[in-house]
Each structure stands twice: as structure tokens, then as C-alpha cells.
Symmetry: D2
Subunit: 257 residues, 4 copies
């Protein structure tokens, strides 16, 4: 059979990224406590393609990813898998990204009852020759309570669920568990999967004592991300689904050392 | 050219609904104040198909809908349009549904500043012979403030944005504007597109004075929907995106006279 | 602390369903081959609430679900978990639904290479006194090739990805693996996660030899679902994301014995 | 009442972007043929905030946007509106983005029947001092037919709906209508809202004669975008929702003069 993809292309356009998107596969993730977690990941993977090739060989992306996941080799070695992809596709550069829900057992603040809570997370590797960059991402739900509403009102203060999205790059390793904890400590209060009455009293009062605009959550996160010994580069945003509006308040910051 | 759709089918299965989904088209909606509003609608339209026909003629759905919208005939006459569809497709029964964002100008509660606010709405008609049923739907964002959190906490109370979805059937006409107002009056407080500081004080305090579980919002809505002189049948649900959890509280009720 | 939820409500409205939505938790599902699969499930769970109670106790839903999943007791015993929920909440009736992506290893049709493929699936139980109903659901991606386009064109025929959604009720057990296979056999061709060139030739030609409207896929599914010895009730729909339009073709059928 | 936002902040962190997201409002867009179109837009708007201010004044964003839309001043003057926002918020820089569905009347290729077709579009302005950048975006649905599948199969070739997303920057003006036409000309075939049998024969055969990988669509788009006299910078990607897989093929390129 003819290999159409291998035919010569005359347009002479080097393609920066070509590959596949929305491929779902089970992934074994290494946790901070040395145990594993199986997640349902959505992958996007691509390589560069020189101008003289008509097309890339899409099925090879699936084959390499399948090899790595079937053998449970991945753990957190995105770089190794990406190297294999680039070698197999005979490419100069490539990118590999997984998005998945990750469960962390979380204890209620007073009663100490534990239940799993899911966080939207992502691993992303970019490799160009020997240049490698890894980006760890997560979106952390939290509570924000409005300082202005608290100040001007006789009683109460509007509060709401907000999501803090963060992407970080580093040389050594940062665990999702630690990154999520760092972010949760910047909000009016963390959110929990399971709260009994004593816990509900606690989180209500803690948010009340700790009013924060999206600007405040962002700035506190920026301070902690700047101070982190391993993080080289970060991007952080806070979006609060305002309880008094049908739109969101939003703040964004990106910095690198 | 052969008309494959008109060929005889031997499986002898009458199909209940066949048609098209996710067709987007501009629609002119009649407003309560007699003016018009152009909305971007997503349509689902279908007819029944007797067992001896292989297929329906999908392009005719688009033609009839296009005729009606191009001539601005629709207004609120879903039944007329649906009759035309059923006649054109030579069918026994049919359904026509539009989903769209509808803007209502809303005044801030204290300063009186007006701004448009969008509501997810739907029109749905079902016609079987002479039997016609129309269902008007909307999803109304509101604030709910937790009675339990208020009661047990020293200060504050968790509150959040909730959505009350309602579908109603009636003989005569009910306006979207009135249905939305009915629903908003059942919450701890309505939400607004534009709030100055005086308004924010007002909505914070009003929610505080008016704590409601999703059960309370639902029950108050049920009382008002039962008492409405024109509504024959309704379905209502309240989902609160809890500010202290990453999941929702939810309540649901369906009733008919 | 006061138990606000236990207070008397004077509106005298029995609530049909009250509970929580969008709770994510890891679930261990029993597979047809007797092994397990851990999935990331999104739960909706609710109970009925008598008119004299002000509110239900939301945290108990999370506690019971957490108990069952932490002890890996679920398997496929939705009924047992639902009974426990109803007992704990002192309710008359209840519903429990999980939605999740389920992976099945699928072999390429010619080269026989295996790779996991994900299917959107759902388990849903409804219990009212002793009356129990279980609904198994899935959305199966397939290829459809248009019979009309093939007939009238010199060469080629438009084809596209379609999704067949099916919900079935039964007394004894039906496996997801079998239900998915039943549905795939009704399309122009199944879709695969991994196809080498020989496989791509095969699926292209198989779809060509097997042209189907959404009406055809639906009717073939209806025939097989009617003929299934265990299925008592079903709902099936086929939506084709037409490659020549920006909207879908759609057909729907619901039947019970 | 105290102005909490105006209080001094001691963290000394200049915030890059703070504002609101997911605000929906009706917008009057100027069309190429000099008429107008009312669209339902979703806005994200933000400004920079100096380190010594605690917070921005969120309600002012809504006020300025409301002023501009109520008076129908917008047309395509994103820059004017953004200047007003920056002046009102006393900021150094700002961004304003609208996302909306835009309808273009499209004629069937043989029968010439016209019907509206919707395209996801966006306007985005970035202003920093006197530095202004405008980005026009759209996602264009098209048909792609696989060259490999056509070559290796006895009959037929798999084809599918693909979306070509493009963002362009320019000094003078580029119309959405022209950008969409440029993109549609790069695919195996455009897609249409309304196709009679003669049209269906035409589009089937045209796609057959014109097989394209996502790489081909991308390269043809790159050639035309490079050759465009007004476009200074572009980003283009093609994602094909493969009819033989449950994942997408994808290609991406970004270039500037």
C-alpha cells in the first residue's frame, strides 16, 4: 500500500505542531505518598513536521501512548514518553499533555471525617532537541468572601465558590498535593467534600474572618509562588462565580524568574 | 436522481422522532412590552416516520424553519411553524424546540441603574394530530443563603449562586418576563448585572434576612406555580453551586393539574 | 447546635427529589471478565422528603457513598447502596445515578492491535418502597455513511462520526460490554482507537458497503433491543454529526414490553 | 460608605489583569455589507491594577460596556470602548474580548438556496498606553476527506467535519466574511446549512476530488494568510473529528511578519 503521508510536499511549510487531540486513556499517576492512582486522562500530543513531508503518522501516537500506559511505565515520566514519541515520529520537537481528575482524600476541619475530593489537573511536557519544559497544572475550588460586602452591610457578606487555576514550571519535582495545599491556603476558606454541622460552623466563620477579593487571593498566591524554592515560572488566575451576579470576577498573573 | 429516502423499508418500524439537532438560526421573539428581540437560537425539530418509508427528508426542516425566520413570522407562533413542518414532511406528529439566551433589562434595587441580563430560555411545541402542547422553559440565576449556616455560626452564612430551572405548560399565554419574576421572588435574593455599593449592601442584607435551602426555594416556587391561574403543568428544580463544597445541592418537583 | 433541617415546615409540600449533584468520586466497577475497573464517576443522588420536614441532611449522602466506595462494596450493587441511602435518610423513595467513562480494550479489525477505548456510561437506580428499577446507559461512537450521498454521487459518499445513546432496563444482568457490542453492530462501521493502514482500508470499505441513515441505525438497534431476552424497556437515539453540515441528523425511539 | 477597593495594599504586587468574565450582553456588529447584526456576546474585560490599590471597581466595567452597547456605538470600535474602560478605571493597560455566534447567509452550491449559517467568532483588543493590538477570531466548520483512506481503499474514503480556528491581527480592517471565505477555500469542501439532492451530489464529489489531511488544510491556510496584504500575525489550527476514531486529528501554526 502507498504511504501517502511519506510523499513529498511542495508547499515547503514546516508545521509547528501536528498530532491528535481528545484521546482518552487510563493513566497510572504516582502520588506523593508513593501509592498510585488510576485516572481517566484526555491526551493531546503533537510533533513538528518538516516541510517536505506530506503528513505525520497519526496511529503511532496512539501506539506509543498505549505502550507506555499498558506497561504502567508513565508514573510521572512525561519526558521519557515524549522522547519516545519524538523518536518514533522522527521529529525535532514535540508536546504531550494529559488532563485528568485527580482525587485527594480530604479531612473535614473539625470532625476529621475523610472523603475523596477531585481536582482538575494537567501534566504538560514540551521537548525541543534537548530543551525540556514541564508544566504542572490544577484548578482548585475555594470559597471567597467579599470584603466590601462585609464592610458595608449590617449583617452577612456575599461569598461564593471560586476556582484558582495555576500552572507551574520547575526543575525538580513539585507534587500536586503540595501545589493544591498552597493554593487553598490563599482563599477565604478551602472547600470540602464532607462537612458535618460543626464543620459547617467552622468554614462559615473562617471565611467571615478572612474576607478576600479575587485580587487578594491572586496576590497571596503570587507571594507564595514567588517564595517557593523550586518553581521557576508560574501562571495563576482566580475566577469567582459571584453569588450576586450571573458573571464572574477574575484576576490573572504570569511571572518567571 | 433516485429518492433513496422514499424507498420502501421492510423492517416495519414506525420511528417516533426523526429530524435535526443543533441547527442555529436567528429568531425574532415577541417580548411582553410588544417590542421584538432577535436571539441566536439552537433548534431541534423532528417528526414521526411511518415504518414503510426508509428515511425522512432532512433538508425540508431547514427550508421551513428558514422560511418562517426569514419572514419574521415566528413571534411566538411555534404551533403554526410546527404545523407547517408536519404538513411539509407528511407526518402524523412532530416536535419543535428552540433554546436561546433572552435579555431582560434589569434595574439595580437601590440606585435603579438598568443593564441587560441574559436568561437561558426555551420554547417547545409538541403536536400529534390535533393535540398540541407547548412548554415554556427558563433557567433563572438567583442567590441562596443557607439557614443552617446562619443559625449555627457566630457571624456570616454561606451563600452562593443557584439556578432554578422551570418548564411550564398552559392554555393561554405566559410571558417569559413574568415567569422569571415569579421564580426570582422565591430565592434569598435575585441576582443583578450591575450593582453599585448601595445596591450591594441591599442584596447582601436581603439575602441575610431571607435564608433559604434549595428545599425552600423549591417549595415557594411550587406554591406560586400551583396558584398561577394559567399554568396547567410544571416541572421545577433548584441547583445551588454550594460555596463550601465542590458539588451542588439539588431539589426537584413535577406536578400537573 | 440547632438542627434546622429537622424543624417543622408549614407549607405541607412533599418534595419528590432532594439531594446532591455533581459529586465526583472514584468507583470500582465490576467488568464482564470478572476483573475490576476504577472509574471517575459523577454522582447524582436524591430522596423524597415529607412535607413536615424543613430539609434533608445533605452530608449523609456523601457519608453513605463514601462508605460504599471506600470499602469497594459497590461492584454493580447500586440497589444495595440506594437502600442504605434511603434507610439513612429515613426516606420513602430515592434515586442514585453515576456517570463515568468506561474503558474497553478494542482490537483493530485487521492487524488485531489492542488499545483502550472510552465510552460514556451510566448506572441509575430508582427505588420506591419495594419497587426497584435499574437503567444502564451508554453513548457509543460509530461511523455512519449516507446511502443517499453514495447513490447520487459519481464517487465517494459523505460519512461521519455518530453517537448512539441507549438506556436499557432489565431484570437480570446485562453487561456494558455486550450492550456496546450490540450497538456497534448496527452502524455502518464501529470506530477504533488504533488503526494501521490495513485497518483503515478495512473500515473505509466496510462503511462503504454498509451505508446507513440515522433511521437505519435506529431501526437496526430497535430490532436487536426488542429481540434481547433480558431487556424489558429501552430508549435509543442516534445523532450523526453530519460532515456536510454544521448540524446533526437525529432519530429517537423508546419502547417497553 | 467605605471604599474598601481604594484602601492601600501593602503586598506591593502590580496585578496584570483584573476584571470580569462571562458577562453576557447584546451587541450590534457592523457587517461587511454595511448592515448590522445583533449578537449575543460573552465578554471578558480586564485592566491592570497598581500594587498600592487593594481592588478594582468591578461595577464600572459593566457600566461602560452597557453605555456603549445601549447607545449602539460599538460597531467594530473595540479600541474606543477599551480606551473608555481604561480611562474610567484609571488603569495603564486593558483587554476587552467578545465571543459570539455570527450569522452569514450562505447559498447552496448548485440550487442557490440561501439560509443563515452561524460561526463562532471573537473580537479582542489589547491596549497598553498607546500600543494597540486587535485580534479577530473565528472557528470555521468544514469537511475534510482523508487522502490516505481514498488511496488505499477500493471504494469511498472516510471524511468528517473539521473546525479551523483562526486568529488574525492587522493594521487596517479585515471582515469576518472574508476571513471565513479564505478558510473555507482551504478545506476539502465547505459545509452548508441547506443542501438539496443536487447540492449533496456536488459537495460529495467536490470533497472526493479534493482530499486533504489536517496538515493540508493547515498549509493551504498558512499560504493564504501569509499572502494576505493586511494580516500581520496569525494563529491557525485545524481539528478533524475523525469519523473512524473517537479522537481528533490536529495541526497548529502561529506566525508573524
Amino acid at each position: 500500500m502507498k504511504d501517502i503521508q511519506n510523499q513529498k510536499d511542495t508547499r515547503e511549510i514546516d508545521i509547528q505542531k501536528v498530532g491528535i487531540k481528545r484521546l482518552e486513556l487510563p493513566l497510572i499517576i504516582q502520588r506523593k505518598n508513593n501509592s498510585d492512582q488510576i485516572v481517566c486522562a484526555r491526551a493531546r500530543v503533537s510533533v513538528s513536521l518538516p516541510g517536505h513531508y506530506k503528513g505525520t503518522h497519526m496511529s503511532r501516537f496512539v501506539e506509543v501512548l498505549n505502550d507506555w500506559t499498558a506497561k504502567n511505565l508513565l508514573g510521572i515520566d512525561i519526558k521519557g514518553c515524549l522522547k519516545d514519541i519524538i523518536r518514533t515520529l522522527e521529529a525535532q520537537s514535540g508536546e504531550l499533555e494529559f488532563k485528568f481528575k485527580y482525587f485527594i482524600e480530604k479531612k473535614s476541619p473539625v470532625t476529621g471525617l475523610a472523603a475523596p475530593m477531585s481536582y482538575e489537573c494537567s501534566f504538560r511536557g514540551e521537548l525541543d532537541g534537548d530543551d525540556y519544559k514541564f508544566i504542572l497544572g490544577t484548578a482548585v475550588p475555594v470559597t471567597t468572601l467579599c470584603p466590601c460586602s462585609k464592610e458595608i452591610s449590617e449583617n452577612g457578606a456575599h461569598n461564593q465558590r471560586a476556582y484558582v487555576k495555576v500552572n507551574v514550571s520547575y526543575d525538580e519535582h513539585v507534587w500536586l498535593e503540595d501545589l493544591i495545599e498552597l493554593i487553598e491556603s490563599c482563599a477565604s476558606c478551602p472547600v470540602y467534600p464532607l462537612l458535618k454541622r460543626e464543620d459547617e460552623k467552622y468554614v462559615t466563620e473562617r471565611a467571615w474572618e478572612n474576607p478576600k477579593f479575587v485580587e487578594d487571593v491572586l496576590r497571596d498566591a503570587v507571594l507564595k509562588l514567588r517564595a517557593h524554592p523550586l518553581i521557576q515560572e508560574f501562571e495563576v488566575e482566580c475566577e469567582a462565580f459571584e453569588s450576586i451576579h450571573n458573571h464572574s470576577a477574575w484576576a490573572y498573573q504570569a511571572e518567571s524568574r
